[in-house]
Structure formats: C-alpha cells, structure tokens
Symmetry: C2
Subunit: 360 residues, 2 copies
DNA sequence: CAGACTCCCGGAAACGTTTACAGCAAGCAG
DNA sequence: CTGCTTGCTGTAAACGTTTCCGGGAGTCTG
C-alpha cells in the first residue's frame, strides 16, 4: 500500500533501483558496477545478471542532470540542402566524434527567429555546446549568442567586437580572386549573381565584387548585377533575368547553387560555357565538380572552418574561462573547365572529368 | 559554513532557488509563476522581476527529468549529402515543428554500428522519438530498433514481421516504371548502375531491374549492369566502367546522385543525352531538375514518406500502446529531357528548363 | 596481536525541476 | 458569528542518476 515505489520508472521501465533490488545490493553498488568503477567480482556478476534480466537501460537525462554534461553538440545551419553545409558538417562531425560526442544538426531556414528559438531552447542544457552559422545577424540574435547558457562558436562574419568564438573567412577577398582570374583571362563584361543583400555574406560579396572591378579600373554596369536567394531555383531565375537584359562574357556567382542555376540558364539559352560565357561559383562544393563542364569555384574553406570551429568549441567546453578567440581561413580559387581560357584549341578541353585542378 | 548551497547551480548560473530567494517567495511559487500557472499579481511581479535581474534560464534537463519529455525528435539518415534525405527531412521538419517540437538530424554514414550506437545512446531518453532510415539492416540492429526505449519509426524496407512502425515504398516496382518507360520509347540495350547489393534498396532495385526486363522478354546482358556506392563519384566511376565495355542505348540509375555521375561520364565520353543514351534516375530530387538536360527520375515519394513517418511517430508518442503500423507510398515516374523520345525533331527539345513535367 | 591501510558496501545527499498536499487567509452565505 | 469555498502559499516528495562519506571486514606491518 503506502510503500514507496522505488522499483520501476513511472512508465514501467527498470531503473537502477530495480536492478539493485534484484541483485540484492544497494543502488550505489549497482550504479558503480554499471559504470565499471569498483565492485567485487561477486557483486559485479550479480548486478550484471540482474541488469541483463530486466533489460536495464540507463536514463541519459538523469545522468546528465547529475553530471552536467550530455555528450551532444548541436550544429545550426541555414539550409541543410546547401552542399557547403554538408561539407562543413562532415568536418565538424569527425572532430566531434573523435572526442566521444555526437553531433546533431538543426536547420534554421535562415530565419533569425528559428535560430534564436533554438538557442533559447536547445542550448538550455540539452547540448554541451553549439556551432551556429548564421547568415543574418540581428542585435537580438547577437545578444542571445553572447549570453548563451552553453558554449557557442560562430562560423561566419560577426561584429568585430562580439565576445564570441568565431571562425571566419574573407568572402570579400574571395570574390576578388574570381574577378582577378576572369580579368586575367581577358573578360571585361563580368556579371554577378548574388544572394540577398540583407545577409552578411550577400553584403560582403557585393562589396567585394565592386571593389575588385574598381581595382581593375572596370566600370560596373549595374545591369550585369542580379540578386536572388542563395539557392538553385533563385539563381537560375536571377541569371535568366540578367541574360534577358545584358550580355556578359563572364559570370561570378555568390555560391555554387546559384552557379549551377546560372549554368542551367546559360545552356538553356544556347550559350556555351566557357566558350561564350565563363562561369565561376563560390564555396567549391562537390556540386561544382558534379557539373558538366565542371565549375570553377572560390573555396572558402568550409571544411577547414568547420574543423576549426569544432576544435574551438571543444576547447571552450574544456575551459569556459578562455578569452573569446577569432580565427580566419583564407579563400582560394579552384580553376576548372567552366572558366578555362576561351582561346585554347578545342582539343585542350579535358575529355574526362578527372582533370587535375589548378589552385590559385 | 555548513549552510546548504541552494542559491545557484554549481557553475554559478541562477536556478529557481536563486529567483525564489531574491523574490522572497518559495521555489514552488517561483516555479508556478515561471510556468505561467497561478500566483497572485504581487507574486508574479516579484518573481518576474527577480528572474529578469539574475538572468534566469531554466535547465531543460532537470525539467525533462521531471516531465519525462524533451520536446526533441531525432532523424537518423545514412548520408546527409544525398538530396533525397534533404527532401525527407524538410517534410518531417514541418510536421514536427507544427507539433511544437524540434527536429535534430544525425548522419550515420550508412554504418550499422553508428546507427545502433545512436539508438543505444541518443534514444535513452534524450529525445522523445526517432525516425531512422537505415540502408543496411542486421538482426542486431533490428533488435535494437524493436526494443528501443523511445518510439521509433522506420522509413524503408524492413522484415515483414518486424513489430515496428514503418513507412515504405516499392522501389522494385519503381525500377519497373523506368524500364517500362524506356522500352516503350524503343530502347532495348538498357543498362543499370546500382548501389551496393548488400543494402536493402540495392538488392530491391537489382531484383526490380531483372524482373522488369524479363517481363518485357528482354534477355539481360550482364555487362550492362554495374555496381558502385549510392554517391556521385562512385556512380560516375561505375558508369565509366560500364561504358568501357558495353554500349547501352539507355541507362537506369539507382538514385539521382548516381544518375548525375552517369550523366557526367556520358557527356565526358562524347555521348549525347538523350540522343545517344537515354537516362533515368531515381528519387526525383531537386538535383535531377538541376541538371542539363534535366533528368527523368522515378519518384519514391520521399517527402510523402517523411511526412507520414512523422505523423506515425507523433501518434505513437501520444499513445505508445498502438499496434505497429505499416504504410506504403507508391512510386511514380517523372519524365524529363534526359529520356525524351530520341526521334523527336530537334525543335521539340525544350529550350527552357521550366518544361512542364509529365508524370506517369 | 594492535594498528594502519585497503577494499567494498550502503545510506544519503546532491543535480534543478515540477507538483501533490496541506495550511492559511479572505470572502461569502446562512 | 460560524462554516464553507476559494485562492495562494510553502513544505516536501518526487524524477533517476552519481558520488561523498562513514563503517566494517580483511590484509599487511611492526
């Protein structure tokens, strides 16, 4: 009747009490054996047997409440359909797994609200740390990042003085590499298909494009600039709009998804690539290599950024008192068929996709 | 001195005790106010103020231990780089989000060990439920699924009698649709680039291909069948091997990544698509529409399967006593330029990518 | 053989919440 | 004025673990 129920969890699952009772030992001993620390041979045998008989599985939540750790790391990215995040995720995953933790991914659809909600909820102790890669940053958002209850590392540009661990690249300079390359190949009417200007990367790339052209003394024809989303369909549509009103001899795209959209638009309109229009993407994802012709692309070191972010996070988890750190990964250009010099004889166009890549 | 430390968490963060002490009320009252249930106006005011002053944020783990729920759902897929899982994830996410929960994704790299480890760890109460889409299934694995501590729904083929909620498609019949379509267009030397035969989908598609050819009275030339991984590079390599030794007039690929690899191999070898070789992929992902020409593809209803799986899971969480259920989604074929009838005059080839799709 | 040292064990106190229960004051009907 | 209801409040018991601490039994040393 009034006897305390200590045997089983509310849903009927066995707890450490069940095991202890069945083995005829205290819960302390049971817990010790189950954690592999201490216990006489006989006790170990009894507890193991009891645990197996009742099918005991420890409650990770209770354990975490006690140990203050969950062994989980979260990664929040805008668009899980973008291969650049896949590469970043793979790099992060391998570091995280090596530390004996598990990685969980959450897609925010680029909405600041989602990301803040995630911070305000998930981060409240469900995970030991987070890596977030925001494409839009508001003050509110930044505040949530700064006083997050768990360690956070940001991948991407952030206000210079934000006291948050941060791994960034210089996408502005990255666009410059693409423009330099195209100018060197003799192109002058260089177009640009960008993502939204109210995003951090969108703004940086726009600035980079304008600065690069100016650096070469080329006056920018605004009809050669078009903006869409950072996605395939939007990129294709934006490229179509651009082609309908202007005649570029080269196109820089703000990421590979856009570049693929532009490639599709170009080919559908009967333009040859790179013969009529040279094409350069950004992010240097696997997608760029999947295309025919393979796309030149500016690598922003996403795998490297991911790896470093994961390492920063692990260090911060180990020592929360560390001062905020900032790391930077330099962009570089991978030249492939889509922007190969248009003057070469046809035979020089690589017949097989295994073209060794030139890295500038 | 000996006074009990009830004020702050071990890491110095405020707890409900901190708030209660500061507001001069009991922790019960503080908790009630913070949860918006009960409390006099004056109490509410004091507690809210105190919480704001100390920057209180509730510890989700402790709450979950008490409530036995975390509000988190996990999705485990083999390869997060495969767009088919992206589509599935989007569908699942929308259902899950509508129920006020959050979705976390975990990539298993197709390793049974990883997936079992996830089940044995994550599922131990860190999440309220899981959706897993295994491509390899072992007995061990199956056992872990069956007696998982949290509700699990499997997307994909599973032993007929496994007592696990399950949403499947008929990929065997799906391959049949592709073959029927190609045969109807006059093709006879139909090749097949498949994934590993030791995977569930690989085996099913192999069987489907052989059955479909037999159904049309076509004798299978084994040189027209090649196997690789379910990925782009492997698909491209496999297609190259196949083309080096045989001359198909059509190619069926076991998923879209492989199909893209095959397309690349075909174009690189100087074949026209669909002029010389017609091409049909599977999964009907966005990737198929990103190619030029756009790829015909057999839809296996991944978004629909994801949606249904999420609904099944939510129902099971609500009522764990439900009997195991099984749902099936029928495949269908989306015909696009890559397998358009080769006899049509050139003008009929769609100039723009917005071709209305024919669905059979 | 006494004392020190080891090892193992069980009781109980955490971890930070929510919530059942009981007490208490105020309001109201009779 | 009494008794019942209503609305808040605080105490304490959960949730399922891990771990500190003290006690008891055994072993070794001097």
């Amino acid at each position: 009747m009034g006897r305390k129920r200590l045997q089983e969890a509310v849903d009927g699952r066995p707890t450490v009490h069940t095991v202890a009772a069945r083995a005829g030992v205290s819960i302390a001993s049971a817990s010790r054996v189950l954690n592999g620390v201490g216990g006489s041979p006989e006790t170990i045998r009894k507890v193991r047997a009891a645990a197996a008989e009742v099918g005991y599985v420890p409650n990770a939540i209770a354990r975490s409440l006690q140990s203050q750790r969950t062994g989980l790391i979260a990664l929040a990215v805008a668009d899980i359909g973008n291969p650049v995040y896949v590469e970043m995720m793979r790099a992060i995953e391998s570091v995280v797994a090596a530390s004996g933790r598990q990685l969980l991914v959450h897609a925010t659809a680029g909405q600041v609200a989602n990301e803040t909600a995630l911070l305000r909820r998930l981060a409240h102790r469900y995970v030991d740390g987070m890596i977030v890669s925001p494409i839009r940053v508001t003050d509110d958002h930044l505040a949530a990042l700064v006083d997050s209850p768990v360690p956070v590392v940001v991948v991407g540009q952030l206000g210079a003085d934000a006291p948050v661990d941060n791994v960034r690249t210089d996408s502005r300079a990255g666009v410059g590499l693409a423009v330099d390359h195209l100018v060197a190949a003799g192109h002058r009417r260089i177009g640009f298909v960008n993502g939204p200007l109210d995003t951090v990367p969108g703004a940086a790339r726009d600035a980079g494009f304008r600065a690069a052209l100016a650096g070469h003394g080329i006056e920018l024809d605004e009809r050669l600039v078009e903006v869409g989303d950072f996605q395939y369909t939007a990129g294709r549509d934006a490229a179509e709009r651009l082609l309908a009103r202007a005649r570029p001899d080269a196109l820089v795209c703000a990421n590979d998804l856009i570049a693929v959209g532009a490639l599709h638009a170009l080919l559908a309109a009967g333009h040859r690539v790179p013969g009529d229009v040279a094409l350069v993407g950004m992010d240097d994802t696997e997608l760029a290599r999947m295309m025919f012709p393979q796309l030149s692309s500016v690598s922003l070191g996403s795998a490297e950024r991911g790896r470093r972010a994961a390492e920063l996070l692990l260090q911060r988890i180990a020592d929360p008192a560390l001062p905020p750190r900032r790391e930077q990964v330099a962009p570089h250009l991978a030249v492939r068929a889509s922007s190969a010099p248009p003057l070469l004889p046809k035979a020089a166009m690589p017949p097989a996709p295994r073209t060794p890549e030139v890295t500038a």
